[in-house]
Symmetry: C2
Subunit: 259 residues, 2 copies
Amino acid sequence: MENIIISKDNPVLKLYRRLSSSKKERARYGLFVLEGFRIVRDAVRENAALHSLILTEQAAGRFSELTEDHRGDARRIIISDELGRRISSTQTPQGVFAICHIPRDRTVIFGDNGRYIALCGLQDPGNLGMIIRTADALGIDGALLCGCCDLYSPKTIRSTMGSVFRMRISLTDSEEDLFGLLSSNGVETSAAVIDKDAEEISSCGFSGRQAVLIGNEGSGLSSETAARCTRRVTIPMNGTIDSLNAAMAAGILMWELRK
Amino acid sequence: MENIIISKDNPVLKLYRRLSSSKKERARYGLFVLEGFRIVRDAVRENAALHSLILTEQAAGRFSELTEDHRGDARRIIISDELGRRISSTQTPQGVFAICHIPRDRTVIFGDNGRYIALCGLQDPGNLGMIIRTADALGIDGALLCGCCDLYSPKTIRSTMGSVFRMRISLTDSEEDLFGLLSSNGVETSAAVIDKDAEEISSCGFSGRQAVLIGNEGSGLSSETAARCTRRVTIPMNGTIDSLNAAMAAGILMWELRK
């Protein structure tokens, strides 16, 4: 029988809480947290580099497959159900948590006819996560993030529904870096804009390496950023920039991009 | 200077609270509630039949355009900021509320080459609202709802972002009614399924009146429902039914449907 941790001062739990609430701490340690059976199971299945698996007493019995399936060297700890409720960010916790290494080897690879999405300044974790999930489902070859909200925050991770472990994702520090990376790899760029005079996305006929750039939910791409792209593309629609949710617009653009 | 209502027993406020929390009460009175400047402004702009406009003292000064722009005969009441916080369902209330008549004359019209979306058993208000919003943005001619969560709940209404006042929407009581309505109007039906053997949505070449049917988030359309449709269509993707969020899948299907 394993020891059951009941102290909130346990160092792994203290680390979990720090990582859960602070982007700075995540960057400092190169670690992020997972909560919930489904996302932890996805991490185990995709052989993500787990640092620790944390299960409540109750969950340890119910989800024993998680530790059986795990092939890495994650430390496994069992905590009291009470501590599980304390560290959980949900109202009905499943008692399944993990600490995971931020991957260093899952950056974007630029292959023949590669199709990419570049996200500039997205601020909503739910949108960012849903776009990563959709990119994965639609077979987009990689996502490049520039000035977005933190990919490794609990909210974003949750809304990727496990796609964060499957997608190739590169984080760039500035638009200089983003455009440098794309142009040095021979990627043509299309700025997604709301403008009746831009090319309709469905008549673009993409060939070769192609990236679509998508801007902030409220304000879109800046005109300077759009001007740096090879072309400007649009989704014909009724209404204004708010008419399509940013993730929905990204989904339709990616759907056309991969055709 | 108008009277400022400070009693929570004011009949309009009591009605607001009942409508806010109960589908049964909404059906009984044929009314639903709106909260927030943007959605109330959309209702005013679209000439929705407002029963009452409710503003907090603070909001009455800040958003005076709402009452100036309103051309109907809604009753306007001013409440204390404290009461505004009480009836609000958000953490940072704007103090703008309305009670609105459920429209009776905005049902779906079946015109030449009409393109429709039929939603069967959707249970997530955010998904339902986002689909209505996307249908509006993409120029879909109408939405038919069957066995879905309540269109007029505050959550669904909020996530339509005002499209509920612009879209033509019909509620049907059963699948019998839904298929009866579609077939008597000469609408061809396509069941959206996850099945590699179904027709790829992008190669369907829709013509004439067409509806795509979309099922519940977790379980999709039942095989009986799918079998009643003219054909079966699919979005080719990696992974399982969970890979695309239901609203995202609906968005891509509607995008192809309107081509």
